[in-house]
Amino acid sequence: MITIINRDYIYEKVNSTFCTAHQVVIDTILGKSLEDFWGSDTFKNDIKKNVDACFSGKTVQYEATFFTPLAGKRHFEVVFRPLSVEPGKITHLLAETFDIDDLKTTKQAVIEKEKELRKFESNLPIGFLRCDPIGKILHANGAFLLIADCQDEQTITKMNFRDFYLEEELFELHLEQLSNDQSKNFGRVYLKNCNGKEIPCRISGFLAVNGSGLPAYIDFAIEDCSRELMLENRLLQAQKLETIGSLAGGIAHDFNNILATISGYSEMLQDDLPKNSESSEKVSKIQTAVKKAQSITNQILTFSRQVEQEKVLINVAEVLKETFGFVKSSIPANIILKSRIPKMKANVLADPTQLFRVFLNLMTNAIQSMEEEGGTLSVDIAVVKRELVKDEFNKGIIADEYVLLTFKDTGEGMDPSLIGRIFEPFFTTREVGKGTGLGLSVIHGIITEMEGEIIVSSKKKEGSEFLIYLPVSKSYSFVSDKKSLRKKILFITGNKYESRVLSIALESAGYELIFISDGKNFVKVMTTVRERPDMVIYMSDSKQISPEELIGIFRNHKFLTPCILITDQNLEISDEKLLNSEIIYQQLTKPVSLKEIRNAIQELLR
């Protein structure tokens, strides 16, 4: 649209486009003032100042939205150019109006699109880099800044992508492999970030060319795959342990056959030999060796999960507290114990005696690793939601909540290459001959059998951390043995913490436990009809009643209540006396599992 306007703001000429757009006849427009045509407000607010500026000698250009009867409300670009009819004097102005509505919409769309792409690129969990053809970084997105562990893009854009490669030659090779307008996957590459940390990344590149076919820039996509690598490794470990487990389980099974033969013949030999003879003692030594071998095959079977665990509903926090107390009583002075074991409900299905072994073993390992330098062992327990667990698990998640136990020390730590192997049976970092190296593999077996997970992280000279996840059980009552209902057991405890765990186990299995303080109290309980126990369990390191006293009381009062004796691996003379006194119906050797003691109790109650 073109019009010519004079200094009185009057239209002097308009073209036909103007007339068509405004749907007016040319004669009605000519001679009309801008104010009349556009209305007083529009003229005063929007038009007049631009017109005046033009009459002062400038070309004025601005954008305005107005209504035309032909096209409705649209966006226009308006240009006022000064015109001179008389020399040296601006008498008129030439007004040109262009409909830029479509252009404006397109521009807006482009801006929106660019914003969207920027947002997409910066929120992308994959690192994105644009570099010049020799690798100088032009632009990096947020994800790459995270991988690079660098705060701002400014620093990054001063660098070359080559600087992040662990091997610079590899970067050159990658540049050579790029061909015009094609993307290329380089697979996993180790990068080092701004702090020198090595990070495994999956990298692909795209080389873009300009109009003349020359390299313009290279786009790199960089994906941090350390998590993926860690999970892959963990899965591999789990599969390896599974394979070793079934192999070792098979061997343990065959070994038990052989041990049964050795043990059988040596028992027969023992019967043939005169008691207390030198030869008889030698045979006893064979039997002790068989027992030791059996304990190893048992551990292997536990590791390979070939042993059925007896499970009851127990609060892990209680077992942890007892184990903690036990460890605390014999800790070297240079080691600090820290714990947060709040009163909480952390119910799981487990054999408490097994859990005691697991916790004890982890704490003992931690303490040993700090023996020389001293340090701190921190033990924590918490209940976490399944959502927090799923990233840590290779196996199915079976519960809504998990108990998370943490054992963290500041000891020697482990070489990263060893971490993957510590759950293998017979793997040990100690000197040859110290321990069987079965400890952690057995722990792994026990935790896996409970459908839990054990995870270790460690740094040489900084310490190790073990995380154990156990599924929280929602059962409210646990169906116990019918035989155990209302059966009373008099429990003469030994070392209080280990006994506490055993009593937690028995109470959870449905037995009623009676405790006594001394011999007098014992006789009183035994002779009160209402309280009389169905059996007695005596731990040989008991402080309340000595073995001799126990024998005396049983004989004097002619008690016939069956008695189970729990001893250490090495029998004391007093233990032997008890065993020969005919009071003891059955003897168990520590560590006693819930299954063993339950079997023994059921056998006696039959």
Partner: protein, 126 residues
Amino acid sequence: MPGVLLVEDDKELREMLKMSLLRRSFTVLEAENGKDAITHFKPLITDLVVTDLIMPEEDGLKVVIKLRELKPSIKIIAISGGGKVGPGSYLNLAKALGADAIYSKPFSINDLILKIEQLLDNEQLS
């Protein structure tokens, strides 16, 4: 004397068991796997069976089921060196299927003999 059938694929272990039973004057019958035990079962002279559980051919669980079916009054003791079927152990499964007693290897031979005598004594009483 009562007859005891030994079902055990480990030859040395079987011979040890046999010797200890002969010392107590039991009549001893032998089978080296489950299939053998079932096909050559002699109900008239067999009062008690000691059977291993994990064996080639038919396993011990089949022996427990089949012999109990062929002679309901028979006494059965299962012995095993470990192993699980699903979540439960072979031994507990054998017990659930009708074994009178179970022992995990290695066991005390004297305990086993005592148990055998006990089971057979009860038999005579009833």
